[in-house]
């Protein structure tokens, strides 16, 4: 493995961690917030709902994994 690849993988692991779906969900939620706000509609509610959903889904995946492996 080249050093550049190893560095990139390290940065990915540092920021995204072991749940890329949550990271992707955060990016999509921010995008949706921007779209709604751009249409001059109140958009503050998007992030709290998204965070609650993403956290619940992430925990659900991890808990199922723990139950299977445990």
């Amino acid at each position: 493995m080249s050093r550049v690849r190893a560095f990139c993988l390290g940065v990915w692991d540092f920021i995204v961690g072991d749940d890329w779906r949550t990271a992707l969900g955060v990016v999509l939620a921010l995008g949706l917030t921007a779209l709604i706000a751009d249409a001059s509609i109140a958009a503050w509610w998007v992030m709290p709902l998204a965070v609650l959903g993403l956290l619940a889904l992430s925990i659900r995946r991890a808990a199922r994994g723990a139950a299977r492996s445990g």
Partner: protein, 262 residues
């Protein structure tokens, strides 16, 4: 000091304390079994590297337009905070092993002893393990210092909170002369996860163009809301998720400070 600045200082202090406790365990292990001077050289080199990272990236981040900074930093803080929170929730629910400083100390000590004879002078092993331990544990804190500090235009305050935490942990470590096993690490990680997620959500939405009802005061609702939601998930996990095989319920251990009743 404003509420946001207080939140910054508390978040950085807690995050830094947790990481410093973990780094201290590693340094103690190689220091006591190999060489204190080499281990401390590793600590010094890693501290300089971390300070250089913060000093180099801090001004670059703070020079970004506030909208770009908030959406980027808010998103990163949120991704980071959700990772901390997820792990803390799983630990509180008994689905993930809690960090055990005594066990880490024992493993590191055994690994250091297994290498055999110590060199008379500089011990490369003690230096490298200390350097790596402090750098890796410190990188997360440097990231939080930079993102929180840049967003609040207060990197100095964030750095001061981090330094205060390190000094407190060093003082406690010197006094105890042992790993700080009694520090409630999971509770602190839980709190950091809540703070990072709340501030990340707040800044990310603002950067994306949303306006929070009540402005900055919305944080006073966001932080407890995230805390309540996280505790509710812990409570539900303890009741609902079976341990391997689906037969035994998860043992309801006493909560640390998250306010969850077993």
């Amino acid at each position: 000091m404003s509420g946001a600045e207080l939140g910054l200082a508390v978040s950085v202090f807690l995050a830094c304390t947790v990481e410093a406790v973990e780094a201290l365990t590693i340094v103690l292990a190689v220091g006591t079994t190999r060489s204190w001077s080499s281990a401390m050289s590793g600590v010094g080199a890693a501290t300089l590297a971390l300070a250089a990272i913060v000093a180099a990236l801090g001004p670059a981040l703070t020079s970004l337009p506030i909208g770009v900074l908030r959406v980027a930093v808010g998103g990163l803080l949120l991704i980071f905070g959700l990772q901390w929170l997820r792990k803390a929730i799983l630990r509180s629910a008994g689905l993930k092993a809690k960090h055990d400083e005594q066990e880490t100390f024992r493993e590191e000590t055994e690994a250091a002893r297994a290498l055999g004879v110590k060199p008379a002078g500089f011990d490369g092993y003690a230096f490298a393990i200390s350097f790596k331990g402090v750098l890796l544990e410190g990188l997360e804190v440097a990231f939080i210092v930079l993102t929180f500090g840049a967003n609040q235009k207060h990197v100095a305050l964030a750095a001061a909170a981090a330094a205060a935490a390190v000094l407190a942990v060093i003082a406690a470590g010197v006094a105890a002369r042992a790993p700080l096993a009694k520090v409630p690490e999971n509770t602190m990680k839980f709190a950091v996860g809540v703070m990072l997620s709340s501030f990340g959500m707040f800044w990310g939405a603002e950067g994306a163009g949303a306006s929070w009802p009540g402005g900055d005061a919305a944080l006073l609702a966001l932080i407890p809301s995230v805390l309540i939601a996280a505790n509710a998930i812990v409570w539900m996990l303890r009741r609902a998720i079976p341990v391997a095989g689906g037969e035994e319920p998860v043992p309801a251990e006493a909560p640390e400070l998250t306010g969850v009743s077993a």
